[in-house]
Symmetry: D2
Subunit: 300 residues, 4 copies
């Protein structure tokens, strides 16, 4: 079996390898920061970064991300997790996650025929810019096999037609699970995923849509942008939900355009903003900076 | 009668006072640039800036803007216009306009209760940054009288209710015509103008909408942006047509926002992008840089 | 005596009036967050926002800003300050400040002849966008008296010449102290302030420089930008130190420019970026978001 | 011999293959546009785009770029050039160039060890986004051989040391000439080129510098940016002259940064802006949009 793509030997490390990230979501009330920071201090963890957010006043939701050093820790991560659950998480009713920053997330990619988002992510992984490794690229077409294999990443084609879609999706899910994917990135994958797929795959799925949502939902956003005569085109990266192009937005950006552009040149210009926005969203996710609340995100 | 607001004595001139601007729209075919530039050269006009655009290949529309010096002209502007019509415009089937850059456009403003766009435009006129003078501010509320009058601009209130809207609009049109408005700017005027108003007023009407259209058409775009969880908010300046927020777009811009913002703070942040985008659109219009084709603009 | 300019009656409040902001700088070591958050929790303060930063690993400096609700506090602010000093600040060797967010800072303005930064700040204060009040505008010229007085702000002229500079600065310091200034903003004040002034005035002084520092230090940056043929022009807001244009930077921004611009049009375009950057820096300072470390800032 | 990298079979064409571009620089006087457009019209050339610029009033320099269709032309390009020289160029004292847009420029790349600019340019050529082909990549290190060869581009290593620099440069020049380079791009080539090299190579050389020039000239700009505490980092692409980092600027851009960044993370963030700015400059050059006047550029 091929090893997943990961930073090449000479690449700089993407971050301190001796840190962990704790993310917390819970009902807002007094004393949360004190309880968490006291717990970490008691176990010898020095907090390096800390961010928090409250979605409102009384009755709102509290979000927190703390990155701390493992250097002086008195426990291994697993017993620390058990202690945190009983001492802090249960009393405050927390949903939480404690991630070892030294263990890169396993990012599976799904693509169709456009190469720009795929190549951009593979370059960033190889360079050590993304705290992720790529165990698998799935596609419904052969076109990008050469690009994936140049990076030493396994490339599997599962053709998708109107008729075979349920079976094809089941096979996709099987491959993604087998690859141990922590999250899936649709790097311009041009098929709509069903609710069944999303439930079965059991991990977050990140998409890049080639417009500044909610403008130009659906197919052909650059043509729609051309016809409306907008002076900006954009891209939006979001978590995929069953509602088309309506999931929680992680990152967006735009670039200025003029009357000189055609639908074709908008496609060309848009590639740059698509790959930048997708890379920004994927990096935030891989660094455990994104928390979801309903249909919105908190990006620390 | 009060003189309209115009650049104060010490303000720098907004441009060479001895230039004129020719704008042309016509069916695209060979020889247009040659014919126009030869005509201008024959009459002693030196071209300073020239822009052109073709909306497509055969069968498309041709757009041009030429700014030229009046210094060596062998005719006054009015006979030059007559000559241009017979020698160039008729053979090519042109819609065209020849504007004396030294004559600022008369820009009437319509406002409701928000001061930021009004103040920004009045300040730019006073500074000499906008080639325009302001003969009148119309409002449906008293709130901004002091601001307008500080700049020495007449301020008239015409209350608008559901019941009196046709009469109120007729009075607005009467005032705007009396003021000799060349164009009207809705600087956060919070009433929808009827098709009758737009036909009667007989000059372009520029609006600022507080979203990146076509996202968030209609009322309360900042609340809608908050609820959708977008990571950018924007503003769009466009010519007003009978279709709400659907007229030709002149300028757009956005600013990044995060999960920390509330609907109220989005309103505050949005003020900066609203006034910048409106000022940019108004300046382009006042400098005769905007040509309209169907529902789109060419901005030279 | 005239009351300082402050938000007009109908203006929205700039922030929750029942919060306080604690800012802390100290040598980095374990337990700081735990100690501070435990202290606040013990006194009934609910933390609303929290930011922290460490300037390095061992031996670095720790920076923190916490905004908390006063609603359930068991002490008034003054006894809370005394308790914090003995319980937390002394053991950790902290420099710290606890500010009542409901008390706007007293921002004195110094100007010369350009109106754009002055007007922009006065508009923002009147609208309630800046948590500040303006007790005084000082100038070395009469030009902007009308603008200041329109907003009801006292305007004093102290002429400055090469000969009288020490006396003029002494008089400026006297006026600023008398006005109770918490900080001074140089809104395009065109004189260099001496080290004596900076020491005597005893509060932070914020400047706006019309270039992206460190490019184009000193006089005439737009002409220098024109001559170098840059494709961006910018503005930088920084704390003033004895080294010209070399103090800690708070905010910077740029706008694109082309070969079409002249030194004069760069000045005009630059006004927009100058006032935006200055407003952003002043707002960050007024909201107690800026901490200084040597010649750099932490802006939370 | 290996064919140079050029758009792959399925790539979209970068522009109409039946157009040509005329660029003109000459002393400004009346009648230039008329003469050129009349000449083109007389020979059946339909003007598609036209841009012009005057660097000043009387005594200034005039710059023009016209793109026209070859479809109805009555002459081949070579006789058209001869006719233009005698009929138009000589009377007006023009420096000019008439380029067949269907013939991509031959772009030689020089690199050292950083892959991001190299990969980005090779990918854009392959996609057909850049009207260029790549006959050669020269390096002073072996590191990027695999990347170049993946794209099918010849890769030659010429080690450069303090001792062998004149000989190494002579060999570089020989290789570049042999490859028929129309222009050279330094895609993070980490050696300073001598005046002898620049004179001998006989074609434009484009560099990417990793700062917003003129700030942070020379080595280690990201460290200098970190130490100055700037809130923006940038990149500048310019033509190389004998004065280090002082040649005519083609494109610049910046991205915002905060106190959280380290010199290392600035390097990582900067890679995105470096490759975008370099690609923009190279595209403008390859499309014959850049005219040089002294130490500045006109970019149409």
């Amino acid at each position: 079996m091929t090893a997943p793509l990961s930073p090449s030997g000479s690449a700089p490390a993407p971050g301190p390898s001796d840190t962990a990230v704790l993310t917390v979501t819970c009902p807002d009330r007094g004393g949360i920061v004190a309880a968490v920071s006291q717990f970490l201090f008691n176990h010898g963890a020095n907090i390096i970064h800390s961010d928090q957010h409250s979605s409102g006043l009384a009755g709102g939701t509290f979000f927190m991300r703390m990155e701390f050093s493992l250097a002086g820790l008195d426990l291994a991560l697993e017993p620390l997790r058990r202690a945190f659950q009983s001492v802090v998480a249960e009393p405050f009713g927390m949903e939480w996650r404690l991630s070892d920053a030294a263990r890169p997330g396993r990012m599976a990619l799904m693509v169709s025929r456009y190469d720009h988002c795929l190549l951009d992510l593979l370059w960033r992984v190889r360079r050590g810019d993304l705290n992720a490794e790529v165990p698998l690229v799935l596609s419904n077409h052969e076109d990008l096999r050469g690009d994936a294999e140049t990076f030493g990443v396994p490339f599997h084609v599962i053709p998708v037609t109107r008729e075979n879609k349920p079976e094809a999706e089941a096979e996709q899910v099987r491959r993604l699970r087998e690859a141990g994917a922590d999250f899936v990135v649709l790097a311009r994958y041009m098929q709509i995923l069903s609710g069944d797929f999303l439930r079965e795959v059991g991990c977050p799925v990140i998409n890049i849509h080639h417009s500044f949502l909610p403008a130009f939902v659906g197919a052909n956003p650059y043509r729609a942008a051309f016809e409306r005569g907008v002076k900006l085109i954009g891209a939006t990266s979001h978590y995929v939900t069953e509602d088309l192009d309506a999931g929680p937005i992680i990152a967006q950006d735009v670039i200025p355009v003029t009357h000189r552009e055609t639908p074709e040149s908008l496609v060309r210009l848009g590639r740059d903003v698509e790959r930048q926005v997708l890379a920004r969203a994927v990096k935030a996710h891989a660094d455990h900076r994104v928390l979801v609340e309903g249909n919105k995100t908190v990006v620390f």
